[in-house]
Structures are given as structure tokens and as C-alpha cells.
Amino acid sequence: MQLEAEHNAGPQAAARPLKLLGLALAAALFLGATSYQALSSGIEYTLIVSVFATRFLGIFVEAVPFLLLGSITSGLIETFVKSDDILRFLPRNRLGAAIGGAFLGLAFPVCECGVVPVTRRLFSKGLPLSMGVAFLLAAPFMNPIVFASTYIAFGLGPVFIGRIVITVFVAVTVGLVIGAFAKADAALKPVARGGGEDHSHADHAPPSFQGKLLHALQIGSDEFFEMGRFLILGSALAALMQTLVPQESLLSLGTGPILSVLFMQILAYILSVCSTVDSFLALAFVNTFTTGAIVSFLSFGPMVDIKSTLMFSGVFRRRLVIYLIIMPFAMNLLAGVLINLWLGY
């Protein structure tokens, strides 16, 4: 992508046909899937596209304010926070860093769309991999706003407590594993890396407060474009899946202590609903699904879903993105099943 192309014009010219091919493939996939749906259901093609547009815009409109807030937070961090400040307060050992990362959301209240640009910015400021990964996975839930919405929806019951315990446990574990086995240079895309290439904007941005603020907003708007494309592609993919895969078929399959958890997690991945509002959505499934499935839906959904997978790919290299999906998926599944067995389903 353009990341490799930053230093000279050669690779960029070579990347252009690839981008064109990618967009053409996406368009072909869209046309193929919607046409198939129109033919198999007997519904007019324009109506299928209209339903797709409604679903796509719904997800986008609900998520985009959070991405904007996250982008601006990222711009403010870039402009006002010096790398030294962050490095000074960091826990020295990996476990401390991962645990700190899981609770960092209490200081940076961001949801799953906002967390990605903030994490990327913090990485470029020298945040260790284990802490950043734990923050990335935990922060969408571990913040005051989502605590409030979960509390309003479920009260202080097993769902709320289970959600906290599982989120922290999974985030810390995945952070530790990735911190132990991956090197930052190999795990992160060049834009997310700190070190020699870092332009410390906090150092040479305009000196006045207003100038800095303007600069932060400018960076925030670039960040919006950079991350917004992943949100938009992810929303489109989620909308397409919803238009094609019947929700009822998932619901009817999702019975029993294990399958119910599995299907709620797949549903969470496909629906890609923002973490600030997913508790209200989960309420809709309380009667249909096991408690373990509800908890797993609420813990796994904010960590990984279609749109955040695409956004992750703007920060991490592909192999790590795959680990970041599979590990939380497996651990949440296990936790959900254990809750079900423990509660005696």
C-alpha cells in the first residue's frame, strides 16, 4: 500500500494497478452477491441495493461520531504529548504493561472505532506492544461510557461482572503473548512505528496553544481519512453480510451451551455494532440465548469485528491481525462455555 511508497515514487506507481484491482474486485464481489440475492429471493435488484444502502449508512452514521472523537484524540496526543512523557510513566515489566494497557481506557475513553487511531498514535510514541494490544482489546469496553451503558442495560449482575473479568483477562493474556513472541518492528506497519522516523510534533509544532490546537485538528482530519476508509469498507462488508446471511438462521442454530456462544460471537463479528450501544442490542437476545453467549457477545464484539479487523490492518501486519482475531475468539468462546457450564445449562 502507500506505506511502502512513502520514500520514493517507484513502488507507488507499481501499487496503483493493485489498488485498482482491489477496488474492482470489491465492486465485482458486491455486484455478484447482490445479484445472486436478487435472483434467489425474487426481490427487485434496486430494492436489494436500497436495503444494503440503508444498512450500510445506519452502521456508518452510528459509528462515525466515535471515529471522529478518536481521530481528534489522536491528533491531540500527537501534538501535546511527548514520547518521553509516555515512556516515563510506563510500567517496567511486561505483565505490568499489559495490565496497565487493559485499564488505560479509563483515562482515554474511546470506543472500538476510536481506539485504533489512538493506539496507533501511542505505538508511534513508544508504547510497548503488550500494553498497546491490551489497550486495543480492552479499551472499547473498559471505559466509563460503556460501563454506564452496560450497567443501564443489565444492572450489576453476572453479565456486567462477567464482561469486565473476561475482557481484562483476554486483553492481558493476548497482550502478553503478542508482546512475548512478536517484535514491534515485525508486528507493526511502518506508520505505527516510533523511533528514528518519528517527527515529534510536540517538539516542533507551532508554539502557541491555538496553533497547536489547529495542528491537532489537522492531524485528526488526516487520521479520519486514514482510518475512515477501513470503517467504511468494514461497514459495507457488514451490511452486505447482513443482507445475504439470514439472522434467523443463526438464531435457530444457536442453542445449547457451546453452539449458542459460538453463534453469538459470529453474530457480534458480523453485526459490528459500536461498543457504546451493544448492551442495548444484547438485551434483544436475552430471552433467546444462554447467559454465557450474551457475555461472550459483549466481551468479544468490542474486541474484534468486521470493521475493526479492517482498521487493525492499518496498524498491524497481516499475520498479527489474524492472531488478534483468533486468540480473542477462542478465549471468549471458552469463557462463555465455562459460564454456561457453571450456571448449569
Binding site: Q2, A5, E6, H7, A9, K19, L23, E44, L47, I48, S50, V51, A53, T54, R55, L57, G58, I59, F60, V61, E62, V64, P65, L68, L69, I72, V191, H201, L214, L217, Q218, G220, S221, D222, E223, F225, E226, R229, I232, A236, A238, A239, Q242, T243, V245, P246, Q247, E248, S249, L271, V273, C274, V277, F280, L281, L283, A284, V286, N287, T288
Partner: protein, 249 residues
Amino acid sequence: MSAVHKHKPPDGDKTVDWAKSFILLGLGVYLAHLILTGNLSNYINQRFAWLVYVGAGIFVLLALVNVFSGLARSPDGHDHQHYEIGWDILLIVSLPLLLGFLIPSRSLGIEAVNGGVSLSPVGVQSAAAFQRSPLDRNILDWLREFDRAVTPAEFNDQEAEVIGFVYREPSHEADGFMLARFTMSCCVADAFPIGMPVNWNDSGDLTAGAWVRVTGALQAASFAGEFMPVLFADAVELVDEPAQAYLYP
């Protein structure tokens, strides 16, 4: 050509700057347009509308910042272009604008029913639903009442007046259809079709997906193989789609 690190030629920067400002402003205008036309209710629960106000404001602010910084940039200025925003990114980010302005805004209707309409209520019982008088109850309220009831016969002869769209399946009897609505907790991502059974002799003449008001009385009967309260219609009249097409659990 100067191969300065991360810096594109000034001409290219200017075009990209203007395109970015235009798209940001466009997205802000689009969100404001949704609020002003009321079309916002086609996409998200009104409870979260304030988020969209915030979003529209930030978009306009960022557009202004971009215009300002674009004008302030000197031709050979050493301003940091943080990421190289290429035409592909600009194209992808304009996708909501294209779909939002080119395709007429609609709420999810019968075409979006993918895999059947549920006869079970969604969400938890709200206190308000209990106090709602029977004639004011919507489909969701009724399904919750049915769910709560000990026996389907509990509602016999209870009069009801309900609005929804017509949904028919091959398994339905000639004189039966389902009166359906989508429920929505936060946004259309979680929209879910629910419906209550109606008995009406001329069911076959109704257009699938048409919005109707059904007045009649409930009677326990068999519907699609299940014994449950069925709304026996006295009248089925065509109505406009309600301003708020979805029900909020």
C-alpha cells in the same frame, strides 16, 4: 522532482486539500440533512441522535480547519502531510456521500426480511408498556403481552388497533397474514422483524409490504401450526408509513 521525505509536490497537495475539505463538509452536510429531513430515524434509534449532531459539528469544524490550513500553506511550505491521502482513500471515504445522496432514503421494509418474521418479542419489558391501554399497544407491546400470558385465551374478545406492514409466507392459510414491524435497539445493524398473526378473509388481495392499520378483536386460534392469540380483523385499511418506521425495544 524533489524527493523530499513524505512530501508531495505542492500542486498535488492543493488538490488533495480541496478534495478533503469538500468531502468533510459534504459528510457534515449529509448528517445535518438527515437530522433536518427526519430521515435519521431510518438509520438509528432516536435515543442516539445527539451523536449525529456531534458528528455533523466535528465534520464542519474539520472542513474549516482544512480550508484554513490549505490557504495558509505556502507554495513550498514544509508542512507535514502526515499520511499520503491518495485518490483511493478519497474515493472510499466519499462512498457514504454517494450512497446517501444518490439512493433515496428508505426505512427497512419487507425486502429486508431475510429468513422470516419472529413471533417472539425482543428486549425486556418496559414499565411503560404495562400502562399502555390496549388500543394504544403496538406489535411489540402485544407480543410481550402474549409472552407474559398464562393462556392464549386470556385476550379473547380484546379489541385492538395495530399498524404494520403485510407479511405473508406460503405456509400461511389463505385467510391469514402477519402484521410486521422492524424493531431497532441502536441502529439498523440490529433491526429485527417481528409480527403478530392476523385473520382476514381477503388476505390474498393485500400487497406484501404494504403498510396497513388493522382493527379487530383478539381470539385464541391456530396460526401456522401454533395455538396463540390471533387478531381477527374487522377492517384493514391502507395507511402511510409511520414517521418512525421502527419500534424501539
